[in-house]
């Protein structure tokens, strides 16, 4: 591990750290920030368990904000607890519970194209005679047959409604890069000549619901994530500050991204939290 930071990095850190007055809440992305997913549930990123404890002890409000859709929120939180994180279900804002709320509000009966592990999240909803499609990262369930079924539901509707749990392009697993929900959302958009509604990061409403859980205004919150577009860019669009960690799917070219500039770049969550907490106590 790198111990000594180059002077330039320290100077940049100092810049964003100077602007922290008034911060009351922290939003944390999970995958790639707290832990790296993979075989056997994944591995915590060094220092991140302690960093979560440190935020909670500091008096700052904390909410986790994830686009995770491989399992139900309850199962996902259980896994994180097993990895040693101090986290509970109501601290996690995730796309599936958010989309369930929307479906209920709008009397929508979903046709699901999602991961098998996510299906129980929709147990309470009426799914007969569907009048919308919900698409999530379905991995191996993204077969031609399943995609075609979703397409036929949409093309048979007068005003097709497609709800997409996130719009990521790809993600990294231990055996390489894999297509994320965004690619398949785009496929259905093109096939039906429609626009999907995104539930999850980078949608504004999603960040707003996470902020509401904390009772904190956008300008009082800071988002920490590894995805320059969906975490950092999405948060900034919503009026929050956004930090990018150099863990998870981070690539050095992210720091020269064509249209998103993070408020700051940090090596990992532990470093970010150290700086934030230190500034608060000044």
């Amino acid at each position: 591990m790198r111990q000594v930071l180059p002077a330039a990095a320290v100077r940049v850190m100092a810049e964003w750290a100077k602007q922290l007055a008034g911060i009351k809440g922290v939003l944390l992305d999970i995958s790639g920030v707290l832990y790296d997913s993979g075989e056997g549930g994944g591995v915590p990123i060094p220092g991140s368990r302690e960093a979560v404890e440190k935020i909670k002890a500091s008096g700052l409000k904390l909410q986790f904000c994830t686009n995770e859709t491989e399992a139900t929120r309850a199962k996902f939180v259980e896994k994180l607890q097993r990895l040693g994180f101090n986290i509970s279900v109501n601290e996690v804002t995730a796309p599936a519970p958010a989309v369930c709320r929307i479906l209920k509000e709008r009397n929508l009966r979903p046709h699901l194209l999602v991961h098998d592990g996510l299906v129980p999240e929709f147990d309470e909803l009426d799914k007969a005679n569907p009048n919308c499609v919900v698409i999530g990262d379905a991995a191996d369930n993204f077969s031609y047959k399943n995609l075609n079924e979703a397409f036929r539901v949409l093309i048979g509707m007068e005003n097709p409604i497609l709800l997409s749990l996130g719009r990521g392009r790809y993600y990294k697993e231990t055996d390489g890069l894999k297509l994320d929900v965004g690619a398949y959302m785009k496929a259905l958009e093109y096939a039906c000549d429609i626009q999907a509604e995104v539930v999850g990061k980078p949608a504004k409403a999603f960040f707003q619901s996470a902020l509401a859980e904390m009772g904190v205004e956008p300008h009082q919150a800071i988002m920490i994530g590894d995805d320059i577009v969906n975490d950092v860019g999405g948060a900034q669009q919503c009026g929050l500050r956004g930090l990018q960690v150099r863990t998870g799917k981070y690539r050095p070219c992210d720091e020269q991204h064509s249209h998103v500039k993070a408020d700051g770049y940090v090596n990992n969550l532990a470093e970010a939290v150290d700086i934030i907490v230190k500034q608060l106590h000044k």
Partner: protein, 259 residues
């Protein structure tokens, strides 16, 4: 004005123009014979993703059309030509029947991706394989970008949605080789000594046949057979040079007015 051009070549679409599945459009075999008596080069151009040239030829022969293999130019041929020009080795996501048109092209250690209509290949694993190749710089070549097509049991996704998904994931643009691309029409004229302005295209698809050909500088005749739907001709700007009932009427017009 248009009638005063010197006409040297005629491009003819196949499915929907000369035949619909296994039946010929009435009178079109005889009309083709009349067209052949005129001093014109003739090429048959089609967006096919499933059938090789050999399959197409077999069907046309059964329907008693007088057509030679080297007169047929398909989107698969166009894809093959592009692979040869660029000297790349493709991952071929095409129907097994179409593989015949790629015979002799090396496919080991692929550094290009070709997408046709291949539902059996459009699974998550294969899509990821294509995705990783493209991310590493392999060109994405689409036989065409059709959104969907009609099957006996209903509508089914075409290659377009899968091409679009890969374009989004990799932040690249596919090279589309079939109609209505200008390159396709120009490529079809290779080997014939004539310019787009000296060529007329006859087809049943307003966008892919007529608008595509006219954009390439040719004249376009829309026939009201095959996939034609009422007022299709109003959907493109500029309008078709001519809209007529079927292929035989299109031939009559050419013989009477364009020579």
């Amino acid at each position: 004005m248009a009638a005063r051009r010197v006409l040297k070549a005629v491009l003819v679409d196949l499915s929907g123009t000369l035949h619909i599945e296994d039946s010929a459009v009435p009178g079109s075999q005889e009309a083709l014979k009349r067209l052949r008596n005129a001093p014109l080069a003739i090429r048959f151009v089609t967006n096919t993703t499933k059938e090789s040239k050999r399959d197409l030829l077999e069907r046309l022969k059964k329907l008693e059309f007088d057509i030679a293999e080297d007169e047929i130019f398909t989107s698969l041929t166009a894809a093959r030509n592009l692979l040869e020009q660029r000297q790349v080795r493709p991952l071929l996501l095409v129907d097994d029947n179409a593989l015949h048109d790629f015979k002799g092209i090396p496919t080991n250690d692929p550094n290009a991706v070709v997408i046709g209509l291949a539902p059996e290949h459009f699974n998550y694993q294969m899509m990821n394989k294509a995705f990783r190749l493209i991310l590493h710089g392999a060109p994405l070549i689409a036989i065409h970008k059709g959104r969907y097509y009609k099957k006996k049991d209903g509508l089914a996704l075409g290659p377009g949605p899968f091409v679009t998904g890969l374009e989004y994931a990799t932040d690249t643009k596919a090279i589309v080789v079939g109609k209505p691309e200008t390159a396709f029409f120009l490529e079809a004229l290779r080997g014939i000594d004539c310019k787009p302005e000296e060529t007329i295209m006859i087809g049943d698809d307003c966008r892919d046949d007529v608008a595509g050909a006219q954009k390439a500088g040719m004249l376009g005749i829309l026939v009201k057979t095959g996939k034609y739907r009422a007022v299709d001709e109003a959907k493109i700007n500029p309008a078709p040079y001519l809209t007529c009932e079927s292929f035989p009427q299109a031939v009559d017009h050419i013989l009477q007015h364009l020579l």
